[in-house]
């Protein structure tokens, strides 16, 4: 990859090992501003581990993660969030005992330190922003409902909305359509295409049909290393990819 002015994220020689098991083993990955990239690969390839490293959930044992000019390695999770990286987990991770509105309010990017949170007030600006974000993911009329009462797909969208309200420059999604119906997948694909217009998105996905709907470029991981990278059609026909992952 060639570095240029629009480079958002550059991961170089990134590695992590757990008791000798090298889950991520020298990965290089470059992501441009406004790019949507899908990461595929067999189970245990290090996909989720890669996202964990970027968002600070696990600590790398080697390499570097440059986000714009900032080195993310060594920063705490919340500092990384403040830098502009949002992460969605595989299973919906929302506050089920709070309402949709409160879920979004709690992620509203103001008053996130102790003092700020004590004096945080619900202003009309906050309410408008929440309404707008909820509309975007199709939950505009469910604001007062308890988040726990939403369907599986809606929970996933709520979590995406919770990230969107923070307006991150990089959004990382771990299998966002797992467990969704076909119709929901369709809606999610549209949603992702919409939101990737303003920001870079990094997605882990298994469903090749879904990948084809959203991606122009994919990266294939295997055994902690990059196996192939490039246009979806080219990767699909790469022999090693077929052998290791796509299968028969």
């Amino acid at each position: 990859m060639v570095a240029n002015a629009q480079l958002l994220l550059s991961i170089e020689d990134l590695a992590v090992s757990f008791d000798g098991f090298r889950a991520v083993d020298g990965i290089n990955l470059y992501l441009n501003e406004g790019e949507l990239r899908v990461i595929i690969g067999p189970n245990g390839a290090g996909k989720t581990a890669l996202l964990d490293l970027v968002c600070g959930k696990t600590r790398a044992t080697g390499g570097s993660i440059l986000f714009r000019d900032k080195q993310l390695r060594g920063m705490t999770e919340n500092q990384i969030v403040h830098a502009g990286v949002g992460r969605k987990f595989q299973a919906p991770s929302i506050y089920e005992s709070l309402s949709v509105f409160e879920n979004l309010e709690l992620t509203y990017p103001k008053g996130r330190n102790v003092i700020g949170s004590l004096f945080f007030r619900r202003t009309s600006e906050v309410e408008e922003r929440i309404q707008a974000t909820a509309d975007m993911v199709g939950l505009g009329d469910r604001l007062e409902d308890l988040a726990g009462l939403l369907s599986h797909g809606q929970k996933q969208w709520l979590e995406i909305a919770m990230l969107l309200i923070q307006d991150p420059q990089l959004l990382m999604l771990d299998e966002p359509v797992a467990g969704m119906s076909q119709a929901e997948r369709q809606q999610t694909a549209e949603l992702l295409n919409r939101i990737s217009q303003d920001r870079s998105v990094l997605i882990i996905e298994h469903d090749m049909k879904f990948v084809e709907q959203i991606a122009s470029k994919v990266t294939v991981l295997d055994q902690g290393k990059v196996l192939a990278e490039g246009n979806i059609d080219r990767v699909k026909n790469d022999e090693r990819v077929i052998e290791r992952y796509l299968g028969h």
């Binding site: 968002c55 969030v81 949002g86 506050y95 709690l106 992620t107 996130r112 102790v114 919770m162 923070q166």
Partner: protein, 397 residues
């Protein structure tokens, strides 16, 4: 009024309960009891400070500290050191080989006041110390433990060990601390004789006002966004973390608040009991305080404060009548609470109220609202309050 209501999360019912509790402490008890009993109740209220700290730290923050006695003791000893120095005038201690130092130091062959006792001659330093030292200790331990993601059970064990170490240390350094005997025999506070009956009333009222102040402050914190962050942490800690919050900062913060509340309680205890000793620092009291909090209601500041008062008062009467049985009864009460009423007395109150409302003068639709509110709420009370308060008012109308 509306501002206050909004500040407190608009919970009318909570305010009514607070009013009832305040009336009990400020009017009913002083009328019903003489100075002696009021003084005892004041000591129990001193424990209530720790209980409300535990509601915040344990009930909301999910961190069970079995070492709150450490902070109670820090506050108590700071106050005791000041009072003891004031009582140890050269005239009052003339028969000692070194007059002017506390009696126990003289017995332990100390010939001068240790340097770190000196500042406690000043009342303002003492007040500052009894708030700041516990806060600082809580910060250091909180920082070390939470930044390393020490979880609930481990946190409980570490704090328990801390309480054990602290009480052994105080006993071992008796020349400086009074040892197992503790520090006793206070006479005056800034020249004001605290042993008279009228002084007892005044100190009792100071204690009550401080307690009500701490409850209000605590409720304000819990109903702010910080309170919701704490709930969210229990629900889905990772999400909070990846929403840009430093979860540890919030944990450290409530731990510090709980520590400061405990220290205020310790100081009020020393003042009212004229006494502080290592048994107010160690494991026994620390665990007992958690029990008081659990019985009162670990999710309710008022419940915990009331529970502490109620259980200790019951203990005063019952342990005298049935010294053997009381311990067993106390254990059984705790078992029943843990198994059947995890929300403690506060939860019991809610159940009774809901039952009463459901059976007397409430329509079907109201019940549906109620049910919905319960589903929405975390402890069956969080958000339901507003709805219920509206309905209570509606019913009155």
């Amino acid at each position: 009024m509306t501002t206050i209501l909004r500040l407190l999360g608009g919970r009318l019912e909570w305010l009514i309960c607070l009013g009832v509790f305040a009336a009990l402490l400020l009017v009913v008890l002083p009328l019903a009891f003489n100075g002696y009993f009021l003084n005892l109740l004041g000591r129990y209220l001193a424990l209530a400070f720790v209980a409300i700290g535990l509601v915040m730290c344990w009930g909301y923050g999910g961190m069970l500290s079995l070492g709150q006695g450490v902070f109670f003791g820090l506050g108590g000893y700071a106050m005791a050191m000041f009072l003891k120095l004031e009582a140890s005038t050269p005239e009052a201690t003339a028969r000692q080989s070194t007059p002017g130092i506390p009696d126990f130091m003289d017995w332990n062959q100390l010939t001068a006041l240790p340097w770190w006792w000196e500042p406690f001659n000043s009342f303002s330093f003492t007040l500052a110390a009894l708030l700041l030292i516990p806060a600082a200790v809580a910060y250091v331990f909180g920082y070390a433990l939470f930044k390393r993601r020490v979880s609930g059970v481990y946190f409980a064990i570490v704090t328990l060990s801390l309480a054990a170490a602290m009480s052994i240390l105080i006993v071992g350094q008796q020349g400086y601390t009074g040892g197992a005997n503790g520090i006793t025999d206070f006479q005056t506070l800034l020249g004001w004789d605290i042993t008279t009956d009228s002084a007892r009333y005044v100190i009792y009222y100071i204690c009550v006002f401080l307690l009500l102040g701490c409850i209000l402050l605590g409720q304000w914190i819990l109903s702010s966004r910080a309170g919701r962050v704490l709930i969210a942490v229990r629900d889905e800690e990772n999400r909070v973390r990846f929403s840009g919050y430093s979860v540890e900062d919030f944990k450290i913060f409530v731990f510090m608040v709980a520590a400061v509340f405990s220290a205020i309680g310790g100081a009020m205890y020393a003042l009212q009991a004229s006494f502080i000793s290592p048994s107010q620092v160690g494991i026994g009291l620390s665990v007992e305080l958690v029990v008081l909090c659990a019985v009162g209601g670990r999710f309710s500041l008022l419940g915990a404060a009331f529970g502490a008062l109620l259980i200790k008062t019951a203990e005063m009467y019952l342990s005298d009548l049935f010294p053997q049985l009381w311990t067993i009864l106390f254990g059984l009460i705790l078992l029943v609470v843990v198994l059947a009423f995890p929300k403690g007395l506060a939860g019991l109150y809610e159940l009774t109220r809901d039952y009463a409302l459901a059976h007397f003068g409430s329509s079907q639709s109201d019940a549906a609202v109620e049910e919905h509110a319960d589903k929405r709420s975390l402890h069956g009370r969080e958000e339901g309050f507003l709805v219920r308060a509206k309905r209570i008012l509606g019913g009155i109308r």
